[in-house]
Symmetry: C2
């Protein structure tokens, strides 16, 4: 198998030039006569020549590949992010190598990063939504271009995030504006920065409105945990508005409320987070907060590319604001 394809010298021979000239054409160097360039192009096409990335990576010291470390790429958020990242990278001529990880502990993350390093990736994007990921990053070689997404805001690492706080504040405010006296919150797991950001935003909005935040209902992103929290919420007659940390939690809550005969939005209003494609078809259609994954992907890749090109490891940060998508799960409280 694998009769190796033609190499640069083969193209050069056919075009009647040196392999270096072929290289120059390929890399868009100036100072190649138009006529020569055309001959080389023709030879490339005729032979079906394809440059060898490995050889190029060897001599330049880095490949046209960026590594992505992520956990649980089955969830809607991470999956969208990954897809957007890949798309953007492809436009810049980069391939994306995924190193997904079962757990976000020290060792798993380090191992994934190591794997990427030994493939000499040009840079690494870590989707690092929990505390322990940040620790793993500390002990990394300093000279690798690196960007974290949704990571620890308190660490001096280049960071791109969805503005969780703003999103949560908007969701909460939306419920307050509808006339609700207070808003309950079903949160994500407490070790995720996404969760704490959303909790903070919720709390801020409430405090700003002069209300004391009710007790937190801790969930774990899953519909199952949303359901459990929903069962408790349904039993409390004073609850009229709930903000859940993601749409799947909302789905679980919706189902629990339904079972207890509490109507949404007539009895209780619900707002989610993520805007999964099917949120518009929940019963009822879910008002939710939509993060712009494309923008996050673009920003992180840009940041990474800047590092790769400049060689500087600046510690920038950027956050992109999500937008509220209003549907039918919110109404004024009955009095």
């Amino acid at each position: 198998m694998a009769v190796h394809g033609p190499a640069m010298t083969d193209v050069a021979r056919l075009a009647g030039v040196s392999h270096q000239t072929v290289s120059r054409v390929l890399n868009g160097h100036p100072n190649v006569r138009e006529q020569t360039r055309l001959r080389v192009r023709a030879a490339i096409a005729e032979l079906g020549y394809r440059p060898n990335g490995a050889a190029r990576a060897l001599v330049t010291g880095r490949s046209q590949v960026i590594g992505v470390v992520a956990q649980n790429t089955t969830l809607y958020g991470p999956a969208s992010l990954l897809a957007a990242l890949e798309q953007t990278a492809a436009e810049e001529g980069f391939a994306v190598s995924v190193g997904s990880v079962r757990n976000l502990d020290h060792r798993s993350i380090s191992a994934a990063v190591e794997r990427h390093l030994s493939h000499r990736v040009a840079g690494i994007v870590v989707i690092a939504p929990v505390e322990s990921a940040g620790e793993a990053l500390e002990r990394l070689p300093q000279d690798v271009p690196l960007v974290t997404v949704d990571g620890d805001p308190s660490r001096p690492v280049p960071l791109v995030t969805v503005d969780q706080v703003a999103g949560a504040r908007a969701a909460t405010q939306h419920l307050l504006d509808a006339g609700h006296r207070t808003v309950w919150h079903v949160s994500g797991p407490s070790d995720w920065f996404d969760s704490v950001g959303r909790i903070d935003g919720w709390r801020e909005a409430l405090l700003a409105a002069g209300t004391d935040p009710p007790p937190l209902m801790p969930g774990d992103w899953s519909a199952a945990s949303g359901y459990r929290c929903g069962q408790m919420l349904a039993r409390m007659p004073e609850v009229t508005a709930v903000f859940t940390a993601n749409d799947h939690l909302a789905l679980g809550v919706l189902r629990a409320l339904h079972e207890f005969g509490r109507r949404v939005p007539d009895d209780i209003s619900v707002v989610g987070f993520d805007d999964v494609p099917e949120a518009a078809y929940f019963i009822p259609p879910l008002t939710t907060v939509r993060p712009d994954f494309d923008a996050v992907a673009r920003a992180s890749l840009q940041m990474l590319l800047a590092q790769i090109e400049s060689g500087t490891g600046g510690a920038l940060r950027q956050s992109v604001a999500p937008t509220l998508v209003s549907r039918d799960s919110v109404a004024p409280p009955r009095r």
Copy 2:
């Protein structure tokens, strides 16, 4: 940036051997004295040496990377598959490079494959659920290890699939067994093999039971299209059982039925396909068919690895049977 790490010669010097001996240790060759092996290992650890994948790929002609071509990795199925593939590959010491694709037409797929080829991946997995993908594969270099997932059963390419027909038959039979006279079907897009397999299975089960299949309701995987079909279904009093080609379609149907006051499962039973994690929290909890993505990933990787190692491009095929997950959305018809 990027002070290049130590190379093999540095390790060799420290251990007092030749670089070739280091290479032998790294690749687990026999005929290295135990004592030497230990010295080399120590030197590797001390320097934090990491082999250079690019150099290795250059000299061996292939990298430890497998390329995956997929579309729409945001959907639950593809995302799960990708994650499972990555996991399995990592266990075998391979990295996974994704080349996701907006459209599954000729050119996009070819371009993605080309990209992988120029990175000299060891093999390629194409998640190719539509006709046009198969065509793109025809004109590929013959010498690249390749496996398709959920691709065209009629093409002579190594293929691993979820057994769509069996899954659909099971779902339909389940409804028939509950006492329904016939079963309606909301399908996926007609150019997906997944769809046609599920349609076939549905039709087969009906025919085997001696019933004429009712007209097909064509959808496109989205909850939105499920909703539209559901609106029609809800208006037809004779409909008592619906099998949808995936869970999101089912969600749309559920919502439409709900709006029309038709209760599930009392008035109409519904069965989905995929078992997305939140299916258990639909209203009502959805009976559905669960494909084993891990098994598919394992099988395809195994097949690919076999090709890589043997150099043979055999045209095997393998299909893994899904299982029915019974929940609350199915009941006997009212009479």
